[in-house]
């Protein structure tokens, strides 16, 4: 299945306008403009330190931006905690290092936020959790602790944990880069499945195969700016900017 077959609506899911961010004096993100429609699957790539992580962390309010606006699902991201809460419950996030809670079982990991944030009864939350664990193909591990799982399994649990909050948008920050090669596939498969269901996704990754297969759009960032964005085929086969060409030559040659 190619990206063309997945439906993209016209509804805007994320709208970023003139967003700027500084760490102290260091200008990490410069005038970011980005509109993501509902159902879009966007892959973000770029050299290390180019601000990819920072960008998607801003969308989730894990980092504050200093200028410009971010509107997620109609909610403006301001310093108001209520808005932040609303946005966070709309947006799920998967980290490079999974960040599962090691003292809770897989099931508890998945039900914690639904119970405490969404105030869903425990039983119902557990049913939902089992549903998503089945989806990521590890229902049988539900009562184990994260430490007993392999990296790939852990990452899938992390995805399931986010899904349990029933987010409308998922952010992924290099979800496979901490994994051994055999496990990467498991996780990518899960993500592809998710994409097929029409989840809006922003994914920082260097897995170009994944980008080709599922992305609607590939964004290339460098030095805190969006340098180029295009549909995957066009992006890979016919990059425009020199910076992109150089980057692609390194990444694909590797």
């Amino acid at each position: 299945m190619t990206q063309a077959q997945m439906q993209v609506s016209d509804e805007v899911a994320i709208e970023i306008r003139g967003m700027n961010k500084w760490y102290g004096q260091f200008h990490v993100l410069r005038d970011i403009e980005l509109t993501v429609n509902r159902g879009e699957r966007i892959v973000i790539c770029g050299p290390s330190g180019s601000g990819k992580s920072t960008l998607i962390r801003c969308i989730n309010a894990l980092e504050e931006h200093q200028k410009g606006s971010i509107v997620v699902d109609g909610t403006q991201l301001t310093s108001d905690l209520k808005n932040i809460d609303t946005i966070r419950s709309e947006v799920g996030m998967c980290f490079q290092h999974f960040n599962l809670f090691p003292h809770l079982t897989i099931l508890e990991n998945c039900t914690l936020a639904p119970i405490w944030v969404r105030k869903i009864p425990k039983k119902e939350a557990e049913e939902t959790a089992m549903h998503f664990l089945e989806k990521v193909k590890i229902p049988d591990q539900a009562n184990k602790y994260p430490g007993q799982l392999s990296g790939g399994q852990q990452q899938r649990v992390a995805i399931a944990r986010s899904l349990c909050m029933r987010p409308r948008i998922m952010l992924f920050d290099e979800p496979t880069s901490a994994l051994d090669p055999e496990m990467i596939k498991e996780v990518l498969d899960t993500m592809i499945e998710l994409a097929e269901e029409g989840m809006t996704m922003l994914c920082v990754t260097h897995e170009m195969g994944f980008a080709r297969q599922v992305a609607n759009r590939v964004i290339f960032m460098d030095a805190g700016q969006i340098v180029e964005q295009n549909e995957p085929e066009a992006f890979f086969n016919n990059p425009q900017s020199d910076r992109t060409k150089l980057f692609l030559s390194q990444i694909l040659g590797h």
């Binding site: 980290f95 960040n99 936020a113 986010s162």
Partner: protein, 512 residues
């Protein structure tokens, strides 16, 4: 030029064989462990000499020990000049050494039961494998122990327990069970009460500050400065007493959606009201109907080793929550709160415990309202708790720092708020890492409880240095009593520290 004959294939296995004879047995052990080099041989000889000399001194003293005598003089007569211990003092003052001289002997069994139950209550905290259900007993234990040790009516601890349970129920009721409209109303009411209450307190406080300023007066440069500062603070408080009240009321009202603040404040208000108005009459009333009395014992009458144990356990358990709060405060990014915590922790860690005990003894009473008169044991508990809280806070801070940043971020990204993230994600992990450190602080603190002897409390050491050594019949005993005291502490502390080492090993393997 290359070695052509490199290829080699083994056709038959070599079976394992035992090592050569010189490599085994006691001789090898001795050679390796005692005489492996000249230096080691010398060390062995020295060590052996030291051990023999020590034994030569101690063994006869022990072996000749007199166990039955009425006084030091009788001991001396029995020994007739030979070197020997007068253990009779231990027999004679056994009760006093363990329980102090004022605790009613017929109630000793209560303390023994309380201590045994303490072990049971501690089990689920100390060992993960013990059924979690026992934690319920741990929660009940303080009330049981209070009743057993201090006696009085069972209704007092029971009522307290009931109040706590009720408070928790009120908290849940407001927080989770009632409808949003009801919660709005509750929020308005509670906000009003809390706001007015706060404004009232601030008003009183402002007056108090003015009073202080006036009583300092302006004689002398330092006094003038203090005078000004107090009036300034007073003015500040006057200025804000109404706005603060309104604001706090409004804040509580406004937070009805989250439910958190409203339910916490409601629960606290409930607890306060219940304690002041309901608690006394009801428990007295119940006591007059059905007694359930144990002979009451005043705190003052506690003594001996039991006092050390009580101070140790009570203060450590009380200081853990305080320590957690301090550690979290110290991690806070609000400078004022962080500053207060840092100052408190560093101050306490910078002064010796006995100066704090002096404070408990000579100063604390001056800080309390004139009519309140709580006894020395309570004051000492307050100071020791503050003391150990500072140390525990540092241990827990280490545990917090050991948590990867990702845990905080994951909690944030799931939408948990600060209180939820702290309670559900951060603390359980940080505390687990900190347990060995906390146990070490506890051992240190338990040993330090002997310092209360310096402020005229009759703990084990106080008992020895006071009544026993000054008793007419036991003037001159020394080694026997101190040796006994040292042994008691050793047994307990060594046990606990072995536990903590076991736990550390356990945690290490957990991580892999």
């Amino acid at each position: 030029m290359t070695d052509t004959n490199v290829s080699f294939v083994r056709t038959e296995q070599i079976p394992p064989s035992p090592p050569p004879a010189a490599e085994a047995g006691i001789v090898k052990w001795m050679r390796e462990n005692l005489f492996s080099s000249i230096l080691n041989t010398v060390l062995t000889v020295i060590a052996a000499y030291v051990i023999i000399r020590l034994l030569m001194g101690i063994v006869p003293w022990f072996a000749n020990g007199v166990w039955e005598a009425g006084s030091m003089r009788e001991c001396r007569d029995i020994l007739a000049g030979a070197s020997g211990a007068c253990f009779a003092v231990l027999v004679d003052r056994w009760d006093h050494l363990l329980f102090g001289f004022k605790y009613p002997p017929e109630a000793y069994f209560r303390i023994v039961i309380a201590l045994v139950l303490l072990l049971v209550a501690a089990l689920p905290v100390l060992f993960q494998t013990v059924p979690r259900k026992l934690l319920l007993f741990t929660g009940l234990y303080p009330f049981i122990a209070y009743w057993l040790i201090w006696g009085g009516s069972l209704w007092t601890p029971l009522m307290l327990l009931a109040l706590f349970v009720l408070t928790a129920m009120v908290y849940r009721l407001i927080g989770e069970q009632i409808s949003t409209d009801m919660r709005k109303i509750a929020a308005a009411v509670v906000g009003l009460i809390a706001g007015v209450g706060l404004a009232y307190l601030l008003f009183i406080g402002a007056g108090e500050l003015g009073f202080i300023a006036n009583s300092i007066g302006t004689s002398g440069a330092l006094n003038t400065v203090a005078y000004g500062a107090f009036w300034l603070m007073s003015g500040f408080t006057y200025l804000f007493f109404i706005p603060m009240g309104i604001f706090v009321g409004y804040a509580i009202y406004n937070s009805y959606e989250g439910g958190g603040l409203v339910s916490v404040v409601t629960a606290l208000l409930f607890l306060y009201a219940a304690l002041t108005f309901v608690f006394g009459p009801v428990s007295d009333g119940l006591a007059s109907v059905v007694g359930l009395e144990l002979q009451a014992v005043a705190s003052r009458d506690l003594g001996g080793f039991v006092l050390n144990m009580i101070l140790g356990t009570v203060c450590v358990s009380l200081s853990i929550p305080l320590g957690i709060a301090l550690a979290l405060g110290r991690q806070s990014d609000m400078p004022l709160i962080k500053g207060v915590c840092v100052i408190f922790i560093e101050f306490i860690r910078g002064v010796p415990l006995i100066t704090l005990l002096f404070v408990a003894n000579v100063m604390l009473a001056y800080f309390m309202p004139p009519e309140s008169n709580f006894d020395l044991v309570l004051r000492v508990i307050i100071m020791i708790t503050a003391f150990s809280a500072a140390y525990i806070a540092e241990v827990i801070r280490g545990g917090l720092a050991a948590l990867p940043k990702g845990q905080y971020e994951a909690a944030d990204s799931l939408g948990l708020n600060y209180a939820q993230a702290t309670r559900l994600i951060i603390l359980p992990q940080a505390l687990k890492i900190s347990i060995p450190g906390i146990v070490n602080v506890a051992v240190g603190l338990f040993k330090d409880t002997t310092l209360v002897s310096i402020i005229s409390m009759f703990d084990l050491v106080g008992m020895i240095r006071g009544p026993i050594q000054n008793a007419t019949e036991w003037i001159g005993v020394y080694w026997e009593v101190y040796g006994f005291g040292a042994m008691l502490f050793f047994v307990v502390c060594y046990g606990i520290s072995q536990y903590s080492q076991w736990l550390e090993r356990q945690l290490q393997t957990d991580h892999h």
